[in-house]
Amino acid sequence: MIGFPASLERLVQLFTRLPGIGRKSATRMALKLLTSPEAECAELAGAIMDARTRTIGCSICGGLTEDDPCAICSDARRDPSTVCVVERPSDILALERTGRFRGRYHVLGGLLSPLDGIGPENLRIDRLLDRLEGKTIAEIILALNPTAEGEATALYVARLLSQRGINVTKLASGLPVGGELDLADELTLGTALDERRAV
């Protein structure tokens, strides 16, 4: 059987290393690039390198930025006394899209996982404590995924902060907005029932 020419094969191989890209998609992308104008290919190659070299982690919150500190950390209108703790930089984007949060963020860069050898020292927990040192903090909001690791990490951080007398909350879980009761799965509905609140 005759395969692709070596250079094309290499491109396909490199694409399959990306998340969510299988052999089929990688081949389609590579073949599309072969027939694209050379300028477009150069633009893509340049954009990849550009993004790679210019994007850094904000030295305060850990979010992605080109300028340090990032736009949120340097925005004087954003409330510094409320900090929302997230796992990954992409979580900041999700929360920003809500347009509801006017505080600052802090990226942990992962979750506690003894199985993967990830302890508190591998997360940006120290940086969070440093950040809060000597400041008046009204509330720390833990916005971590409700997985086994997310819940354990939330508990660990919450205990550390409570010791320092800081008010800690976490995101509510419950019914999706606009959803109907009889369509909600039992777990979601059960949690919503457990965590009901006064009207």
């Binding site: 506690l112 003894p114 199985l115 508190p120 086994a148 508990l155 660990y156 039992e186």
Partner: protein, 395 residues
């Protein structure tokens, strides 16, 4: 009375009434390029359908085909490609189910290139999992005696598989519990005598308690209902022995008859305290010593632990009762369960075999295989089929 106890009464009544009209049953079964069958169409009856023939004649394949119509896979544990007739590219299984007078066509096709496709009433299903629940089956084979003979893991699996089908919250809690358990064991293994190490272990302990208590509380709440389904089924097969179920827990235990309603908060407290008492031991040994993953569903026969003294026949009877009891417990809306019994008569005496035949008839519909014929007296109103080298003849 707990809600489960109320259902227990319903199920028991359901089993007592002969073949209720609204039960789902399979009227015809069609096979195409399936195992050793080129093409086969069998008309089945309500009650027991008895298939006899020599080893390798194709009896079990018929039960296997029914399992494809219910769960879109082989409950015999084979892969899809294994059941394709030699030299063919795929197979097909079809059936007409009946619920009262309403017919419902189910067709499953598999080809090596395209995979599986299922049609119910002519409509192609978007996901194979959508088929689950249309036709319910329970499969029993001789290996299932490991449920009573083997270690606690076998019985926990039976309990967990039942609860996961009834309660999706249980499924999530169990998956999170297992994950948290592995994380906690790792944390215990790398524990060193300092404050930070303790803080890490404590966090995983608290999460383990949360998920584990949901698991324990659900099992305890379900036990009376399950125990009554199983004991009832058992008493129908064996008039002499009395079977009881109990939950022998590392945190909390309960007899099968007690209404074991424990609030999740109470279980949490008991679990937390129990772990607190052994915390030094756990840190020394480096793994979690108690929790729902080490609990047992105890099967007692005439007041004694079956596992340590039961005879071959007693084990088989108890295992059948557990499996059929599970089917009854899962059949909450009374839609009926098709019971598939593969070669299970070999170790039962004639009285028990006869009682089992009678019981399966009352279950709705059952398909049973055996290498030996049964006397007419034992078979009652059952329909008999002779199976030989890819041919099925109704007798």
């Amino acid at each position: 009375m707990s809600p489960h106890a109320a259902q227990a009464v319903d199920v028991a009544a359901g089993v007592n009434t002969p073949a209720a009209g609204k039960r789902m049953w399979l009227r015809t079964l069609r096979l195409e390029s399936f195992r050793n069958y080129g093409r086969l169409e069998v008309e089945l009856d309500q009650g027991l359908n008895f298939f006899h023939g020599s080893n390798g004649s194709g009896k079990t394949s018929i039960l296997e085909a029914v399992s494809y119509l219910a769960v879109a896979r082989s409950l015999r544990g084979s892969s899809d490609t294994e059941v394709v007739k030699w030299g063919e590219r795929g197979f097909g299984v079809g059936g007409e189910a009946r619920c009262g007078e309403t017919p419902l066509g189910i067709v499953l096709r598999f080809t090596r290139s395209e995979g599986k496709e299922v049609r119910v009433a002519g409509e192609s299903l978007a996901r194979l999992s959508d088929l689950v629940g249309v036709l319910r089956v329970a499969w029993f084979s001789p290996e299932d005696t490991w449920i009573t003979k083997g270690g606690p893991a076998e019985r926990r699996r039976l309990l967990d598989m039942t609860l996961c089908q009834l309660d999706s919250g249980y499924l999530t809690a169990l998956a999170n519990y297992r994950r948290t358990l592995r994380q906690r064991n790792e944390a215990l293994l790398s524990w060193s005598p300092d404050e930070e190490s303790d803080r890490i272990v404590d966090v995983w302990t608290e999460r383990l308690v949360k998920y584990g208590s949901r698991v324990i509380a659900t099992r305890l709440a379900f036990l009376p209902h399950f125990a009554s389904c199983v004991s009832h089924t058992h008493s129908r097969i064996s008039a002499v022995d009395e079977l009881e179920l109990g939950y022998r827990g590392t945190v909390l235990s309960a007899g099968g008859k007690e209404a074991a309603a424990h609030a999740e908060g109470d279980v949490e407290q008991a679990f937390r305290e129990a772990l607190g008492r052994i915390s030094e031991d756990e840190r020394r040994r480096g793994f979690t010593l108690l929790g729902p993953h080490r609990d047992d569903l105890e099967v007692r026969l005439n007041g004694r632990a079956l596992r340590s003294f039961g005879s071959q026949g007693q084990h088989r009877t108890a295992a059948i009762a557990l499996k059929l009891g599970q089917a009854a417990a899962l059949d909450q809306n009374g839609q009926g369960v098709i019971v598939l019994l593969d070669d299970i008569l070999s170790e039962l005496d004639e009285t028990r075999a006869g009682a089992l035949v009678e019981l399966t008839e009352e279950f709705g519909q059952a398909l049973m295989t055996s290498t030996r014929r049964l006397p007419k007296g034992v078979l009652g109103r059952s329909t008999c089929f002779g199976v030989e080298a890819g041919e099925v003849v109704r007798e």
